[in-house]
């Protein structure tokens, strides 16, 4: 079963993955069961309209604050809040564990004493990271499709997939950042800390952008902006935004082997 670095890495992640799946199931069931009582309640939207702008930036998804509609509700609750937290957390956990985690535990020495090149080791771990994030997103998607139709949210499976693709790429941006920092330094806490900070900054930049004009251009460095502003739950996939998110992940992923190849492994 453990016949490659790829398989071994996935196997290691499986334990926590089960719990993430279970949590996802619980959350989506909860969200689904609450929605029918909000459906069509315009008074709720009025309430949100009265929120300070700074707050609205955090709860909206793609500028849409209509939480009495299915798309608005999922956008606010799942895609701009809980979904990114979970998927980014999983991606950063996997990214920091890949090289830095194994290096700090001291098992990387023996692994790289085997006839496996550093680049190959890295690429297999990177593939495992992508698989884990995609798999959890797939579980989320299936549950959302079920809940959306059961609770009458009226968001199509295709648009959910479009939003989920954006979310996967958004999470991978930070997962790859953690991966690259871990590969460059071998320090897990550093990888987690920096990439989590980057994710928070991305969210805050995007949320506060409407408050100040100088922030409006600053949001263009925020992956959260490219993830959310096209409102994929309503309009489906946004080509350019998707490509930008993908490009960030690819560049960071491609940087990792380069940084990893040239350095000394730390002594366990």
């Amino acid at each position: 079963m453990l016949s490659s670095v790829f398989a071994k890495t996935l196997y290691d992640r499986l334990r926590s993955f089960r719990w993430w799946c279970l949590g996802t199931l619980a959350f989506i069931a909860l969200y689904g069961s609450v929605f029918p009582s909000l459906h069509g309640k315009q008074s709720l939207n009025k309430l949100i309209e009265g929120y300070p702008q700074a707050l609205k930036g955090f709860v909206g998804f793609g500028g849409n604050l209509d939480i009495a509609s299915g798309a608005g509700y999922l956008g606010t609750e799942v895609f701009s809040f809980w979904g990114p937290i979970v998927l980014v957390a999983v991606a950063i956990a996997a990214g920091s564990a890949a090289i830095a985690g194994e290096e700090e535990r001291g098992t990387l020495d023996l692994l790289l004493s085997l006839p496996v090149s550093r680049t190959r080791c890295l690429l297999e771990k990177l593939a495992a990271l992508v698989c884990e994030v995609v798999a959890l997103a797939f579980v989320m998607w299936i549950l959302l499709v079920i809940v959306s139709s059961a609770a009458g949210m009226g968001v199509s499976a295709v648009n959910l997939a479009a939003a989920m693709l954006g979310l996967v790429l958004f999470a991978l941006d930070f997962g790859m950042l953690a991966f690259a920092i871990g590969a460059a330094t071998g320090r897990k806490a550093l990888a987690i800390g920096l990439s989590a900070t980057a994710a928070v900054i991305a969210d805050v930049l995007n949320a506060l952008a409407p408050l100040a004009s100088w922030l409006d251009s600053a949001r263009l460095v925020s992956p959260f902006y490219f993830y959310s502003h096209g409102d994929p739950l309503r309009h489906g996939i946004a080509g350019t935004d998707t490509l930008i998110l993908l490009a960030i992940a690819v560049v960071l992923g491609a940087l990792a082997p380069h940084l990893f190849r040239r350095r000394d492994l730390s002594t366990p």
Partner: protein, 300 residues
Amino acid sequence: MTAVIRAESLTKFYGESRGVVDLGFEVEAGEVFGFLGPNGAGKTTTIRLMLDLIRPSSGRLKLFGLDVRKQSVAVRSRTGYLPGDLHLYERLTPREYLRYVAALRGLDGLGDGEALAERFELELERPIRALSKGNRQKVGLVQAFLHHPDLLLLDEPTAGLDPLVQQTFNELLREVVTEGRTVFLSSHILSEVQRLADRVAIIREGSLELVEAVETLRARAFVRVEATFGTPPPQEAFAGLPGVRELERRGPVVVLALEGSADPLIKALARYEVLALDSHEADLEDFFLALYRKGKSDAE
């Protein structure tokens, strides 16, 4: 014939701090090469350089005539490594772990792992986290040997092994060498190197002190004679005796180094009241200590 290991002016600094400096040595096929030195002398650094886990600051290092950096994967496929500080995957059982190692080495099943585990009486089904230090060390040894490597890099291999298992390990090394394979064995235990190695390099503070056959070292060595007298003999009692040097004097106890015939010393001793006499062949340990004492007095 190319040497299995060839180091030339090999130097490694970690930033400012010293790893190894200007190492030069060769290891031939079919020998057990002992790499002896205290902790922190640079033994582990040398081995990690061979596996491309760390990169030299300068100098050259070749295994099987291959560059350890550019042809690292080829080097590693012919090498088995036992780290001094062993870290294993705690959740796996030894069988799962060994299968993983074998798979990454392109072998089916456990390679020679099954037979080796049996020989070391290693239980394969209990999780590694539940194993004793000795059993973990066995897992480390089995993974190093399971692909029948041409070269074994063993860093403090007998740490934590009980005497019976050490016996098995010694036999295994002997077989390896009989088959013309090579062992690079690092240790700070002098008697271990003396027992197992054909040649020995002594490393101290990153530099090689000497490289010699264990036999030559022994021949160079002396007999250590410790005599306890009824009344301390005069200071000059043993001066000028052929092959005798006085090493130490503690009250009535005099320690002497003897090379060659014992006769002149015995005759000299006979003039005094000798309460006790102890002598043994100086082992590597004595030699090692003498070397260090010399280094110290040079520095002072």
